[in-house]
């Protein structure tokens, strides 16, 4: 027994000066250095740009003192406090998400809507939502409502396509008839007896109605299903003829702020109503939704009384005040634990406001930074660097990213679901799925500039779109991130435990029911994480945009079919500018803004993933 420690000692003593030991230490040192080089490169990159963009040395000592006293000290004290109380920390995270997420989303929505004008968008929202709502309502009314799910999807697609396409179709038919019978003397000189608008109306309403009627007659359906016929007639009439001759003029008559009410307030109210109704009861849900609408109307009326344009305030109320109100209300009524955590974001905001007030009072000089409201809110100025801003580019980037997300998210998630849940291992379908997987892996490695060439050939040359419009930019980048979205969605779906699926099947659920009610709700955080990361990466993509000829412009894009603009393009275009105030001032600030955006998206994704992982365990 006594010899044991001795031998240990002797072994250690022997090894202390051995060559091996030194070699191992040196090797470890090299490895640490290699890791640090990467991280140091990141810090150097951020450091240089931040230093030039913010110019921290131009601030006075008093300013820093103020900065620490009003901002750093209170927020870090609060953070330390909440670290020790898990309930407070959770509530704090929710409050931060509600306040800053709400602010960010409502500001982004505002800049896009105000650039494109609310009326056109409202029209499309109405068109896309009326028909599925009608189907859903009908489904509530009949007993066997299995059809509601697919019918809502199909109806929305059909109405949108028919609305946009029926007019083209009718006029193409006219042309065809003219081409076929125009040579016959009498027929050629005949004109349709009614105005084209009425003809379009008749064809676009009658076509689908007749189709449905014939289908029902041939299938010998029950009398009840004939209730569909007037529904279809009304829908197609409303959706097509009504679009041009009734709906559009009416919507255009609405004052701006009422259009914003329809565009922002109604969807938010609907979401709130559904969420509350799921958690409590239908009646409370309706009350909550009604409260949101009433609040919005109140904001509008107050703004009108003060003779301010209520549009912005309505959007801000729906996008930011309502989620904050929901979280606060929830904390007061249901989750009383850790309510103090709600104060987190307000400590931060209060600190900023109080600091700004004191800064004026004691006359402290802040840093002479390039990141100013001018940079974010005014358009580019090539002569006066202090007047240069990137508002148009920021709006363009937001629009492109929205188009990209709308296009790649459904397709990517759908493909991932197919590959993970439906595709068999063997047989022709199995080989097909295997081939698709290999194909996706290869697509992920294709250089971004090649996607640009694809966009150029597809949108600019083949479809003959004007060069560099928002929708082709968004679609090109959407194709670029599609493989990333698919792979991350696949991983998220794969990580849902099989026991859950088997439990669902065991209770008699079909494959789709299992997917919708069990697998997807579990996988959503993972899917969102991957999508946000992909979007964060695509926000800085430049090469494809240059190839499809997105211009560097100074006015905001006025719609999806107007030429786009993007922040990275501005950086590319101005990097060769020799004037130092641009080269190391405005551009550094823009780069910092872009980096901050990317890092924020990464952070959101990581927080989401961590939360999801802890919830799963």
């Amino acid at each position: 027994m006594a010899t044991k420690p001795e031998t240990g000692e002797s072994i250690r003593r022997e090894r202390r000066f051995s060559l091996k030991e030194i070699k191992g230490k040196a090797f470890e040192g090299i490895l640490v250095a290699a890791t640090l080089v990467g991280i140091a490169a990141l810090l150097v990159l951020f450091g240089y740009m931040f230093f030039d963009a913010v110019r921290p040395l131009t601030a006075s000592a008093e300013w820093y003192l103020l900065f620490f006293a009003t901002l750093v000290a209170p927020t870090s004290a609060f953070a330390l406090y909440s670290r020790r109380h898990p309930a407070v920390r959770r509530m704090n995270a929710r409050a931060f998400a509600a306040v800053f997420g709400g602010l960010a989303i409502s500001l982004a929505a505002w800049v896009v809507f105000s650039a494109t004008g609310p009326h056109g968008l409202l029209l499309y929202v109405l068109l896309a939502s009326i028909s599925p709502l009608a189907v859903a309502g009908y489904g509530k009314y009949v007993e066997r409502s299995m059809f509601v799910g697919p019918a809502m999807v199909v109806v929305t697609l059909v109405v949108l396509l028919w609305t946009l396409g029926s007019e083209v179709l009718v006029f193409a038919l006219f042309d065809l008839v003219g081409l076929l019978f125009g040579w016959i003397p009498v027929l050629g000189s005949l004109r349709p007896p009614v105005a084209p608008s009425i003809l379009v109306t008749a064809v676009s309403t009658g076509g689908p109605t007749l189709a449905v009627l014939l289908y029902l007659l041939r299938r010998d359906s029950s009398r009840r299903s004939f209730a569909f016929v007037p529904v279809v007639a009304a829908l197609s009439g409303l959706g097509t003829a009504g679009f041009d001759f009734w709906l559009q003029p009416t919507v255009d008559l609405l004052p701006d702020w009422v259009a914003y009410l329809g565009l922002v307030c109604l969807p938010v109210a609907a979401v709130v109503a559904v969420v509350v109704a799921r958690r409590a009861a239908v009646r409370q849900g309706l009350t909550a939704g009604g409260a949101v609408i009433a609040g919005n109307l109140a904001v509008g009326v107050i703004a009108l009384a003060l003779s301010v344009d209520p549009s912005f305030w309505v959007v801000l109320f729906s996008g930011a005040v309502v989620p904050v109100g929901y979280v606060v209300g929830d904390a007061v009524v249901a989750n009383r634990k850790g309510r103090v955590g709600l104060l987190g974001p307000f400590v931060l905001i209060g600190g900023v406001l109080f600091g700004a007030l004191l800064e004026d009072v004691i006359n402290a000089t802040g840093p002479d930074t390039w990141i100013t409201p001018t940079l974010l809110l005014s358009t580019w100025n090539g002569i006066e660097p202090t007047q240069a801003g990137a508002y148009a580019e920021i709006v363009g980037s937001i629009m492109i990213v929205s188009v990209m997300a709308l296009m790649s998210f459904p397709v990517g998630v759908g493909a991932a679901i197919y590959l993970e849940e439906y595709a068999p291992e063997t047989g022709p379908a199995g080989r097909f799925a295997n081939f698709i997987e290999i194909n996706i892996a290869n697509l992920a490695g294709v250089p971004s500039v090649v996607y640009g060439i694809l966009g150029l050939a597809l949108f600019n040359n083949f479809l003959d779109f004007p060069p560099g419009i928002v929708i082709s930019a968004g679609a090109t980048l959407g194709l670029l991130i599609l493989p990333i979205v698919i792979v991350s969605a696949q991983e998220a779906i794969r990580s849902v435990p099989d026991s859950l699926r088997r439990g669902s099947y065991g209770m008699g659920a079909s494959r789709w029911q299992t997917l919708r009610n069990v697998v997807l709700p579990e996988a959503v955080p993972g899917i969102l994480t991957g999508t946000i990361l992909a979007l964060g990466r695509a926000i800085g993509e430049t090469a494809p945009l240059i190839v499809i000829a997105v211009p560097v412009r100074t006015s905001t894009p006025s719609g999806l079919f107007d030429s786009g603009a993007a922040v990275p393009l501005r950086i590319f275009a101005s990097a060769a500018n020799a004037i130092p105030a641009y080269r190391k001032g405005v551009l550094a600030a823009l780069a910092v803004v872009l980096l901050a955006l990317m890092l924020t998206m990464n952070a959101v994704a990581i927080v989401l993933r961590n939360r999801y992982q802890t919830d799963g365990n």
Binding site: M146, P150, G414, A423, I436, N442, P447, V450, I453, F572
Partner: protein, 370 residues
């Protein structure tokens, strides 16, 4: 009995509507998956369509073997070799930066780092891959090139003047004879002669790096290298983490140190993953566009031969940058120059596709199954 089973089966059958609904959803989802094949087909069609028109006007042999690329000036010439060599220079430069650093980081993260360090360091490294490339390009052009171009000794750059003293990074006694660019060493036949001359003039050489142009391959390739570090480190680290612990334990049991285990057990076992990460990272470097367009400039040239280092101090043009240049040129119409962009794109696509396939094959073929 069988009657009973039949009715049971019938009652277990789903209503026809549900079956059709399920089929509809499956087809919709399969359509989403098939769209990715449409994307590949679209890429191939759009590239080869333009490239075929181009090869109708310029012979493919001339394109692949020509040593002059001047599509926009004078009589256009379309030799792709200068562009390929430019790409090669960038790839070599970035490989020198990224491959050792990435491998070192991967070994550290997989074998040495404790879990808490790894939880911070791995995402931090991966941020490097997410930084927009246009920002890297801006950094290389505006910040890195002036730093590299500053006259040596380096301390003037590294140590700010307000510190009041300077630390010589390169001690003055070292500056006597490091001929970085000995003004063009002639080819082999005169080699001996050169050496004698060389020894004579040694005292006149000082530590000189030829001054960099505003656009140069050096800063571009260093930046591309930094960008691809996380590709190497992440994929290699995954491969090393997949090496089973039993191998490590066996090696420790035989008296190995951590160094031995890392270098002679883990790295050899993970070779296939490491090699495939290298190939993938280099294919990313080939396809990189913004950094090289902004920082390496747009002057296509064949490589300088024995004086290899000058390739890095001069401006080069790579394939991706040539595409950007053609696209940015005003109103080309459907000329051969415009179509040449598709030919370069096709070359690029084939090259990166081949590298990705090689990486996958290496990973599959040489994977040690445990």
């Amino acid at each position: 009995m069988s009657q009973q089973r039949d009715t049971d089966a019938q009652s277990l059958q789903r209503p026809e509507f549900v079956v059709r609904k399920e089929r509809l959803y499956r087809r919709l989802l399969a359509g989403c998956a098939a769209l990715t094949i449409a994307v590949t087909l679209g890429i191939i069609l759009s590239l080869s369509g333009g490239a075929l028109t181009f090869f109708g006007e310029v012979s493919i042999v001339k394109f692949l073997t020509g040593t002059n690329w001047s599509p926009l000036v004078g009589t256009p010439e379309y030799g792709v070799l200068p562009l390929v060599s430019g790409t090669l220079i960038i790839v070599v430069g970035s490989a020198v930066v990224a491959l050792p650093i990435g491998l070192g980081a991967a070994i550290y993260l997989s074998e040495y780092a404790d879990p808490r360090v790894r939880a911070v360091a791995k995402p931090a490294l991966e941020i490097l891959a997410g930084v927009p490339t246009v920002i890297y390009g801006y950094f290389a052009l505006v910040y890195l090139t002036p730093i590299l171009d500053a006259p040596l000794p380096i301390e003037q750059v590294i140590i700010p003047s307000w510190l009041g003293f300077s630390v010589p990074i390169i001690p003055s006694w070292l500056t006597f004879s490091v001929p970085i660019i000995p003004g063009g060493v002639p080819l082999l036949p005169e080699f001996t002669l050169v050496v004698s001359e060389f020894t004579l003039v040694v005292s006149e050489f000082v530590f000189v790096i030829p001054s960099l142009g505003a656009f140069n391959a050096l800063s571009a390739s260093i930046t591309v290298g930094i960008m691809i570090i996380p590709m190497v480190s992440s994929i290699s680290e995954d491969a090393m983490s997949a090496v089973p612990d039993s191998l490590r334990e066996a090696a420790y049991g035989l008296g190995s140190t951590k160094f031995d285990v890392s270098t002679s057990v883990v790295v050899p076992a993970a070779t296939s993953g490491i090699v495939s990460s290298y190939v993938l990272a280099l294919s990313r470097a080939i396809g990189e566009t913004m950094i090289v367009t902004m920082a390496a400039g747009q002057s296509p040239k064949m490589p300088y031969f024995p004086n290899v280092l000058q390739n890095f101090t001069d401006s080069v043009e790579v394939m991706t940058a040539a595409i950007i240049k053609i696209v940015s040129a005003e109103s080309l119409g459907q000329t051969a120059t415009y179509e040449s962009m598709f030919a370069i794109g096709l070359t690029l696509f084939v090259l990166t596709l081949a590298m990705n396939i090689i990486a996958e094959l290496v990973r599959r073929r040489f994977r040690e199954a445990y």
